[in-house]
Subunit: 301 residues, 2 copies
């Protein structure tokens, strides 16, 4: 099965205590697609400007990403410039240029509307609702969001949450959205807003999954060197959705396996700047690290 | 097998966003003992003042703790007063009165020197070395420490680390001791200082175990209500050591199981103020939560 992702395509300029990268391929849809493509065919709905280099598109299509839904608009591509602290869990956004993303209206090519697995990347909740309304036979629709929409468009966001199957957000957003500091309470409160499954990304501490009938908690893959955390969350979501779409179904066992694959795939992303490691990655490396992760976490047999 | 613990006995006054407790039973040896006693007989080496109530001693001996090595000195019991932030991972020490702990010299009753499993709670490294030198047939000696000794007595602390089997410290202390922010690097650096196993306590994020031949990473038991984190780390260490001393041995499989038992036991401690929950706890509740934890973390079969 294919996975559809609607999200941002960007140029990222990244600074971390370990170095920097200037105007590299970025955006939630880019990281999501590169990760998901290891597991299933991917369809991007997004927009880039005229300045977007052919190389980046080639890298995506070579990975198995269908770019028919990627619009090329007059103007410049979305740009983000961020700087990470010594504690890589903390970052400052130094500059954002929305550019072509400002007037972006998702366009779905014929055929895309039949996609059963869809991920609504972080964007205006109205755009997320619009995409959702066009899906003819959604099997699993998941969404991300961010502090901006939680504060500025709470009503629209609530409508999204009422309709999605799964929410994938990070811990600070979960706290903000729910008003609870405790992660279990936060997850329970978000579950009441509509989704069947709440997935909370905790960065270097792993993932917490909460639903009415199952709770799953799993640490992150421990890494000796983290160069750049950018895109880890979107890589997680991509591998998670791709793994499910690849035929595993949406039962509890399949969800847990997909979460661990998400975890493991994201652990590669942060080992180099931007999407470099993800682009060079082989599926066999993911499977090998998955097996290693089983060994790292096993305690009961 | 018995477990020996050398550490502080205290009165704690605790403030958290959820309430407070005044002059309750505290100290690393108290929490350690109450937790370890669920698994094995415990021997305390420590000191209290004349103001220490008989009730506290009764609570300990009823749990199966041998108090022969607990000195009663002229003067007042060690006192700690702390306040936790809204983020319970952060706390301020408002007052410390060392009192009888100031001149404490560990005294080992006859028979204690034969104990094979020993835990050197957070105290002056010279006192830890002294206790170690008296153990006739140590099988597993573990130690804790804190920022004060890392900064003030690095030379003496290094001697302790050269001789212990296992170090049990929290993540901020691991970073301080090693000079590395990354937890894997920190653990690797501490391993080079001498111990065979490094156990890093990450509070609500679980535990990271590192040794030359095995790495183990496990999340904490997710709790909906944390009232007071005081004593969680010492409860973890107590259940961990008690579990090993109960006959599980010191192999990789036994270590992992003991770590999870430590995790699960500590999850009870934080559910109420001071050691209240730990004192009321039944072994069957620990086993039940252990089984639940297996379900919460299982993803591969």
């Amino acid at each position: 099965m294919s996975v559809l992702v609607v999200g941002s395509m960007a140029f990222d300029s990244i600074e971390t205590p370990h170095g920097s990268a200037d105007r590299v391929l970025g955006g939630s849809a880019a990281y999501f697609s590169l990760a998901a493509a290891f597991f299933a065919p991917v369809r991007i709905v997004g927009v880039v400007g005229r300045d977007f280099p052919e190389d980046h598109l080639t890298a995506l299509s070579r990975s198995g990403v269908d770019l028919e839904g990627l619009q090329r608009a007059e103007g410049k591509t979305f740009f983000w410039h961020g700087r990470y602290h010594e504690d890589l869990n903390v970052r400052d956004t130094l500059e954002v240029q929305l550019n072509v993303l400002e007037d972006f209206v998702p366009h779905m090519p014929p055929g895309y509307e039949d996609t059963e697995y869809a991920f609504l990347g972080n964007m205006h909740p109205d755009a997320q609702l619009d995409v959702m309304s066009r899906l003819k036979r959604p099997r699993l629709v998941a969404c991300d969001t961010m502090d901006h929409w939680i504060h500025e468009n709470p009503g629209e966001l609530r409508k999204v949450l009422e309709r999605v199957e799964t929410v994938v957000i990070n811990d600070s957003e979960a706290r903000m959205l729910s008003g609870h500091n405790n992660i279990v309470r936060a997850a329970r409160a978000i579950l009441k807003m509509g989704p069947r499954v709440v997935l909370i990304k905790r960065g270097e501490y792993g993932v917490f999954q909460f639903s009415d009938d199952a709770t799953f908690v799993v640490p992150a893959y421990p890494l000796e060197e983290v160069l750049d955390p950018t895109g880890a969350g979107d890589s997680f979501a991509g591998a998670f959705m791709g793994c499910l779409a690849s035929g595993a179904g949406t039962g509890d066992r399949a969800l847990r396996r997909a979460i661990v694959y998400g975890n493991v795939t994201a652990s590669f992303t942060v080992e180099d700047f931007g999407p470099r490691r993800l682009i060079a990655l082989e599926r066999e490396e993911i499977d090998e690290r998955y097996r290693r992760f089983v060994e790292l976490t096993r305690f009961h047999d």
